[in-house]
C-alpha cells in the first residue's frame, strides 16, 4: 500500500522536476559561460524520484500487495521471489517505468560525462531529452500508471505468464532497454549538435561512446531473447523472423550503420547529414518498435493487455518527435564549407559507405516484411503473414558481397589505397576458402552453388580476420574481434541450418521409436510437486550414431495462471546440441516429442558474445588513444 503510494507520488515529483529543469536550462542557455550546477542537481533529483518510484513498484511486487492493479495482474503469492522481482518489468506498466528510469539515468550520466563539450550543446541535448522524458511521464501517468489502486483488495493475484518465468527473460528487457534508450541520447545529442552547428570530428569522438554502449546492450539484449526462444518455446530454433524479433533487429541494423559512419566522421568531415539522419532513424525505430509491440498490433508474448488508447498515444508522440527532428534538421543543418565530398573509390570510406548501403537494404527488407501485413490488413482487410522464406530469399544472396567487402574493407587505408595492396595472399585465401566450402558441402551431399559461394565468402572473412590478428602493425582489436565474430556467427548459422536433423513422433511410455541413426526409448515418467507448478519429467534414452544419451524433458503445469509449459532438455557440447522437448495433448496417452541434433549451436551464442566483446574493446581503445 505505502510503497505503491510513495511510488506514485515520486512519479509526479519526477514530472515536476522536468518542468523545473526546462526553464532553468533555457535561462542558463543565454546567461552564464558554464553549465549551471543546479541543472545537474535537478537532473539527479529527477533520476532519484524515478528510482524511488521504481523501487516502490518492486516492493509492492515483493510484498504481493494486490491493492496495486499491476501487481494483481502480474503476480501471485506462490511465485518465487526472483520472479516476483523480475515480474516488475515483465508487464506493460512496469516495463515503461523501466524505460523512464533508464532515460533519466542516461541524461544524468550524459551531463556529468560531457564536461569537455560546449555548454550550449549540452543544454540543448538536455532539452531534447527532457521532451522525450516528459512524453514518457505523461504516457505513464495518463494511460498506464503502474500504481492504480484496487478496492476491495483481492486475496490472490493473477500470476505471471509462466513462459516469462525464466532467468534469461528476467534480464532480457533491462538489457535491451539500455540499448534502446541509449539511442535516445544519440538522437537528442545529434539534434543538439545540428542546432548548435557542432557536427564535427570532436563531436564524433564524444558521441561514439554512446553509440558503442547502446550497440553493445542491444546486441546482448537481442541475443538473450534469442537464447530464451531457443530453449523455452520448444521449436528448437533461435530466430523466427517474427515481427517482434524484427522490430529489435531494425534499430540494431541502423545503429550498426551509424557505428561505422561515425568512424568516418571521426577522421574527416564527411557524411554529416547522413549521420544525423541515421541517429534520428535509430531512435525512431526503437520507439516504433515499442509502439508496434505495446499497441497489440503485433501478436506475441510481448503483447500485454491491449489498450487502443496507449497505441494512439505512442503513435502521436512518435509523430511529434519525428516532426520536430525533421524541422530541426532542415532549418539548422548547414553543410560545413570544410566538408569533404571527394573520396577515392578504393578507400576505407568507400567500404564503409558500401556497408551502409547493405545495412539499409537489409533494414528495408525487414521493415517492409514487418509492416506490409499490417498495412494490407488496414487497407483491404486481408490477413497475411510473411514468413522466413521471404527474408531468406532476399537477405542470403546479398550476404555474399557483404561478407567479401567486410573482409577487404578494413584492410584498405583511409583516404586512398593502391590496388597493388590487394596482393597474392588475398587471392590465395579466397581460393582456399572456396575449396574448403566445396569439400564440406560435397561431403554432406549438397552441391548448391549459392550455398558454396556463401560458405566461401564466410570462410574468407574468417581466415582474413584470423590472419590480421598476427599482423605486426598496431591492430584494431575491436574491429577484428567483431568482424571475426560475425564470420563465426554466419558460419555457425549456416552449418547449423545445413546439418540439423529433426525427428518428431508421438510416443507412449515404454515405447521405442526406431529411426535411421538409432532409436528413442521412452523409459518412464515421474511427477514432482513444486511451489507454484507440478512437473512431469520424462526419461528418454536415445541412441544416435552409436552414442547413447539420456534426456529428461519436463512439462510444467503451473497453478496460476493454469498453463502448461515444456522445458526442453538440451545436452550441449562444443560440437553439437541434442535437444528434446515433449508435449502432452489433453486426454491422450501419446506424448508428442521432438528430438533435434543441432550442430554448432553453442557457437552462435559464443559469436554473439564475441561481437559484443568487440564493442567493449573499442571503449577501452578509446581511452588508450588519449
Amino acid at each position: 500500500m505505502l510503497a505503491s503510494q510513495i511510488g506514485y507520488y515520486a512519479l509526479i515529483f519526477g514530472l515536476v522536476s522536468s518542468v523545473l529543469i526546462l526553464p532553468l536550462a533555457i535561462k542558463n542557455f543565454n546567461n552564464n559561460k558554464i553549465l549551471d550546477n543546479k541543472i545537474i542537481t535537478a537532473s539527479f533529483l529527477q533520476f532519484l524520484f524515478v528510482i524511488i518510484s521504481f523501487f516502490g513498484l518492486v516492493f509492492s511486487f515483493i510484498n504481493s500487495d494486490f491493492s496495486n492493479e499491476t501487481v494483481f495482474n502480474n503476480s501471485h503469492t506462490t511465485k518465487p521471489l526472483f520472479y516476483k522481482i523480475s515480474g516488475t518489468w515483465g508487464n506493460h506498466e512496469g516495463s515503461l517505468l523501466l524505460w523512464l528510469l533508464v532515460l533519466t539515468f542516461f541524461i544524468f550520466l550524459f551531463l556529468i560525462k560531457s564536461t569537455k563539450e560546449p555548454k550550449k550543446y549540452r543544454i540543448l541535448t538536455l532539452i531534447f531529452q527532457q521532451v522525450i522524458i516528459i512524453g514518457f511521464f505523461l504516457f505513464l501517468l495518463k494511460t498506464s500508471s503502474p500504481f492504480n489502486y484496487l478496492f476491495p483488495v483481492p486475496k490472490e493475484g493473477m500470476g505471471l505468464n509462466p513462459i516469462l518465468q525464466d532467468p534469461a527473460l528476467a534480464i532480457h528487457p533491462p538489457i535491451l532497454y539500455l540499448g534502446y534508450v541509449g539511442c535516445s541520447i544519440i538522437f537528442s545529442s545529434s539534434l543538439a549538435a545540428v542546432t548548435h552547428n557542432y557536427i564535427s570530428k570532436k563531436w564524433a569522438k564524444h558521441i561514439k561512446f554512446w553509440i558503442i554502449i547502446s550497440w553493445i546492450f542491444l546486441t546482448v539484449g537481442i541475443m538473450l531473447g534469442s537464447i530464451w526462444a531457443y530453449y523455452e518455446l520448444g521449436w528448437g530454433g533461435f530466430w523466427f523472423w517474427d515481427p517482434v524479433e524484427n522490430v529489435s533487429l531494425m534499430p540494431w541494423l541502423c545503429l550498426t550503420a551509424l557505428l561505422h559512419s561515425i568512424l568516418v566522421l571521426e577522421k574527416k568531415l564527411f557524411l554529416t547529414s547522413w549521420i544525423v539522419i541515421l541517429s534520428i532513424a535509430t531512435f525512431t525505430l526503437s520507439m516504433s518498435g515499442t509502439f508496434l509491440v505495446r499497441s497489440g498490433i503485433l501478436n506475441s508474448v510481448h503483447t500485454f493487455a491491449n489498450d487502443p488508447e496507449r497505441g494512439v498515444f505512442i503513435l502521436f508522440f512518435l509523430f511529434i518527435l519525428i516532426f520536430i527532428s525533421l524541422v530541426i534538421f532542415f532549418t539548422f543543418h548547414k553543410i560545413n564549407e570544410k566538408e569533404i565530398f571527394k573520396i577515392h573509390w578504393i578507400s576505407k570510406e568507400t567500404s564503409i559507405l558500401i556497408n551502409n548501403w547493405f545495412m539499409m537494404y537489409f533494414l528495408s527488407v525487414i521493415l517492409i516484411g514487418t509492416l506490409y501485413p499490417i498495412f494490407l490488413e488496414v487497407l483491404s482487410n486481408e490477413k497475411i503473414s510473411v514468413g522466413p522464406p521471404f527474408y531468406h530469399k532476399l537477405i542470403i544472396p546479398f550476404l555474399i558481397p557483404f561478407l567479401i567487402f567486410m573482409s577487404i574493407g578494413p584492410n584498405l587505408n583511409w583516404i586512398k589505397s593502391k590496388i597493388e595492396k590487394i596482393n597474392i595472399q588475398f587471392i590465395a585465401l579466397f581460393l582456399m576458402s572456396f575449396l574448403i566450402s566445396f569439400l564440406i558441402l560435397k561431403k554432406f551431399g549438397s552441391s548448391n552453388l549459392i550455398q558454396t559461394i556463401l560458405f566461401a565468402g564466410t570462410f574468407y572473412l574468417f581466415f582474413i580476420t584470423i590472419k590480421d590478428f598476427f599482423k605486426k602493425k598496431p591492430i584494431n582489436y575491436s574491429q577484428k574481434i567483431s568482424h571475426f565474430a560475425f564470420s563465426l556467427l554466419i558460419l555457425s548459422i549456416l552449418l547449423n541450418n545445413l546439418f540439423s536433423s529433426e525427428i518428431t513422433t508421438n510416443i507412449k511410455v515404454g515405447e521405442r521409436f526406431q529411426f535411421k541413426r538409432g532409436y528413442i526409448l521412452f523409459e518412464s515418467i515421474k511427477s514432482i510437486e513444486n511451489k507454484n507448478y507440478n512437473s512431469i519429467i520424462g526419461h528418454f534414452r536415445i541412441e544416435d550414431n552409436k552414442k547413447i544419451i539420456e534426456l529428461k524433458p519436463e512439462l510444467r503445469i503451473y497453478n496460476q495462471p493454469a498453463i502448461v509449459t515444456s522445458e526442453a532438455d538440451i545436452k550441449t557440447t562444443l560440437y553439437e546440441d541434442k535437444f528434446l522437448v515433449m508435449n502432452l495433448v489433453k486426454g491422450n496417452e501419446y506424448f508428442n516429442i521432438r528430438y533435434q541434433a543441432k550442430p554448432f549451436m553453442i557457437w552462435i551464442w559464443i559469436s554473439g558474445l564475441l561481437l559484443a566483446l568487440g564493442g567493449i574493446f573499442s571503449l577501452f581503445q578509446r581511452t588508450y588513444e588519449k
Binding site: 505468464n161 513462459i163 520448444g234 521449436w235 501478436n299 506475441s300 508474448v301 503483447t303 565530398f341 571527394k342 548501403w357 537494404y361 528495408s364 527488407v365 517492409i368 516484411g369 506490409y372 501485413p373 486481408e382 490477413k383 497475411i384 503473414s385 510473411v386 514468413g387 522464406p389 521471404f390 530469399k393 532476399l394 518428431t504 513422433t505 508421438n506 510416443i507 515405447e511 521409436f513 495462471p561 493454469a562 498453463i563 502448461v564 509449459t565 515444456s566 522437448v581 508435449n583 495433448v585 489433453k586 486426454g587 491422450n588 501419446y590 508428442n592 516429442i593 521432438r594
Partner: protein, 139 residues
C-alpha cells in the same frame, strides 16, 4: 559541359536511385511470392479454386476431435459455422488443446481437408489471436 565534380555527383545519385528502385522491386516481387494468407473455415468454403499455395487456417479446435496416432495427429478446426479437417505430423505447441484457439499452416487438399506443416497456438491462455477471435465472430 559539366564539371568533373558535377559528373561524379550525377553518377552517385544515379547509383543511389537505381539501387533503391532495384531493391524495392526485389522486395515487392518476393513479397508477392512468399506471403501466406489467413482464412477461416467459412472463407475456405467460399473459395472457388484450390491452388497449392500455403495458407493459414484459424479457429477453435473442435471438442473431442483430436485423434492422435503414433505418426500423425488429426483434428478439426471450427469457427462454429464451418469445419475443416486437419492432418498433421510434427510437434504441437503446449497450448494446443480442445476448445482452444489454434492456427494451422499448410496446404489445402480440398475444401474440407488441410495438410498442415505447422501448428501455432498462443503463449497465453487468456489471449486469443485477433484473427481467431474474428473468425469466431467474437464468441
Amino acid at each position: 559541359m559539366y564539371g568533373k565534380k558535377a559528373k561524379l555527383r550525377i553518377l552517385f545519385l544515379f547509383l543511389v536511385v537505381s539501387s533503391i528502385v532495384l531493391s524495392i522491386y526485389l522486395i515487392l516481387k518476393s513479397l508477392e511470392e512468399n506471403v501466406v494468407y489467413f482464412l477461416s473455415p467459412s472463407q475456405i468454403k467460399n473459395i472457388t479454386e484450390i491452388d497449392n499455395k500455403k495458407i493459414r487456417v484459424g479457429g477453435m479446435v473442435k471438442k473431442d476431435s483430436i485423434i492422435m496416432k503414433s505418426d500423425e495427429i488429426n483434428f478439426i478446426i471450427t469457427d462454429f459455422k464451418n469445419d475443416i479437417n486437419v492432418s498433421y505430423s510434427g510437434s504441437v505447441p503446449n497450448l494446443f488443446s480442445e476448445e482452444k484457439g489454434v492456427v494451422a499452416e499448410g496446404y489445402l487438399k480440398d475444401k474440407s481437408y488441410l495438410d498442415a506443416v505447422k501448428i501455432l497456438a498462443k503463449h497465453d491462455e487468456n489471449y486469443m489471436p485477433p484473427e481467431v477471435k474474428e473468425a469466431l465472430g467474437g464468441k
